[in-house]
Amino acid sequence: MEALELARWQFGITTVYHFLMVPLTIGLGLTVACMQTMWVRTGKEQYLRMTKFWGKLFLINFILGVATGLVQEFQFGMAWSEYSRFVGDVFGAPLAMEALLAFFVESVFLGLWIFGWDRLPKKLHLATIWAASTASIGSAYFILAANSWMQHPVGVEMIDGRPVMVDVWAVLTNSTLLVAFPHTIFGAFAVAGAFLLGISWYHLWKRRSDGIDTVDDGGKVVVGEGTDNQPGRDKSDHKVWLQSLRIGAAVAVVSFAGVAVTGDLQAKLMFEQQPMKMAAAEAACHDGTGFSVLSVGNLGSESCDDITAVVEIPGLLSFMANGDFKTEVDGVKSLIPQYKEAYGTHIPDLPKYGERGGTKIDYVPVMEVTYWGFRIMIGFGALAAGAAAVALFVVRKGTVPRSKWLMRLAVFGILAPFGANSAGWIFTEMGRQPFVVAPNPDPNGIDNVFMFTAAAVSPGVSTAELITSLVAFTLVYGGLLVVEVKLLFRYVRGGVPSAMPELAHADDGDDDGDGKDKDDVLAFAY
């Protein structure tokens, strides 16, 4: 593999990995803030327990998002120096805004929240989690502003061969951004919803299988209490899981509706802005109106002759693109000549392209990836939302069935929205190829602002260095993922007392009179 491929694999691996943590951080952060608000308002025990338990899982996940986010900030310069030079005037600004206006707030206020339980007045402490979690949404906005500019460059003029920012509002109100932002945020809440649902289901199931909760003849739950050596498994505990489950399921269903609506808007925009990406999402060789449910054959082939749409819904593709059922949507075959005419048939023979100069440009993204990425995104998302709706119905009488398999399904279901998020990003980034900055096709716009990925990589960095870092990041990330998941399992199994030691030790009875001033002991310490 040459440097370009290595750098792309590295960016893909590190970014997809980073974006496993990010949606859970965004979705769960605000959910925890809402739980704590309920506690401050009502004073009910179950809300405090929910805040502490979900807050603990939130932090275990958050830290890995922070740690891997550092790599994101550095690797543009490290592996993509030509890209950084070319776009720096416009692309660096949203990144710096993110750091200055959002990430600072998130990090500082989260520190206050973690350690501030006994130091800050209740309401002020509540405000810190709101500050941190809204800042994480601000972070998403600025990062998506940067990404949207790569999808659809706006607000710049070409000066001396580089795009120079002339209108920051255009960058911050890019049409691509305005749909990508809600789409991403809804996607993040879908992740949090499934997370709450799966874990709460497990605990309701565990309470039943341990004989704590039972059901009466009408199927209604009879909530019980655990024994003395089952700390924290009281009636309040049942409320924690039932309410968390309902919140999670509702969040998952509503988010999916949001994801679908914004996704539709995004697709319509993408048919205008990057028609090739959408044609590749469909493996649509020829112009047409039908949406392929299943296409088989050699999706990567440029000849199109061996791709067959096995199941096709007539008119749906036109609806996705234009809102009617008749207008033909351009297929790959009619788009290729348009792209060749506008952006050339071969990579220019310039020094910045290195050995890649003079090679033929393939305007068709890797179709296996775009076609399946698009379908996995929609399929997993819909599956999770459908399951959440069913779950809401199943728990209407206050608990879950005793089936072990249903419980396992609920827990594994947590993965579905993660899969949908990853697939969506892989689709949108791979679908933009061969461009790193896709051209803006608006005739009044700035159609000479684009950059081939082949030109973006650092010319001075050797393949040996890239192999080293690719292997290092992959191993470290892989190892840390195992650790994170193990830790999450451990804390999930421990239930609420894992996040509230006071529940586990409530019956020790030796808290006083041991000479240690209890007020001095930190409520939370590393």
Partner: protein
Amino acid sequence: MDFLPTLWFIIVAYLWTGYLLLEGFDLGVGMLMKLFARNNRERRVLLNTVGPVWDGNEVWLITAGAATFAAFPFWYASLFSTLYLPLLVVLIGLIFRAVAFEYRGKVDSASWRNRWDWAIFLGSFVSAFGVGAALALTTTGLPINANGDRAGGPFSWFNGYALLGGAAVVLFCLVHAAAFLMLKTDGDIRARARRLLLAGLPAGVLPMVIWAFAVHRDGGGTATWITLAVAAFGAVLAWLMAAKNRDGYTFTAMALFLVAGTATIFTALFPKVLPSTINDAFDLTVANASSSDYTLGVMSVVGLIGLPAVLVYQGWTYWVFRKRVSASHIPDAHSVTAQ
């Protein structure tokens, strides 16, 4: 000289200084976890002096990187791609360190804690060394060609300044952390931190003084003579105040040393941002590496809002957690068991 690029040079220098000043002591505390603390309780005291604040401190690094990208894309691209491997090591170190802070106490087992203690120690050490090396090299020069790309192999950046800068930041972090522990702990730990500071301060500041002097000799003048003198004064004052057991003044004097030291380095570097060791014509400067005035203007507005706000709420955090941490404050380890 152009106003906006100069302003942003000052802001970037300010961000690096803020990073070294704040994360400086938590990197140092991270190294002292292995070098200084004698048992788990002491390690937990150390950890909890920086617990609520280390993440906020680290954002100064992210912001320094992002501000460099936004304001000086050519500097960002050349520096980060040239120092590919050392920055990789910094990143891996910071990743392990961050995760270790959060995960260390999550399982009640000695071997689990020991593994994360090593992660904190090594992560702190390599990231402090790497950041120091990178800063020393951007202020003394790297082998970059006309396009700003590295000439030569993956290690062609290596020279004595890399070692000097790495040592300067590592040793500074250690003594700075000792001053911080004097301020933030009590009892035996505080007394030992004071002794460490008194014994180690000369060695702790010397490499940074040499580095500052080297940059000053190349591009400095009267102004940097003055800042160098102030830095030396800060170091002496810190020692005297530590000897008198005045912890607040000791820490302030350490901060004065650092600020005057980095002021010397960046002032002497100006208007260059990254000299080329191959040809003076390839030097990256404030003028030829910066973004357009429009972008810098936009970022100035953002900075005008963001930077003072950071000082206010981050300062407030330090005030909230102003109490000293000592062994009696540390709660017992909590073991999580499956229900």
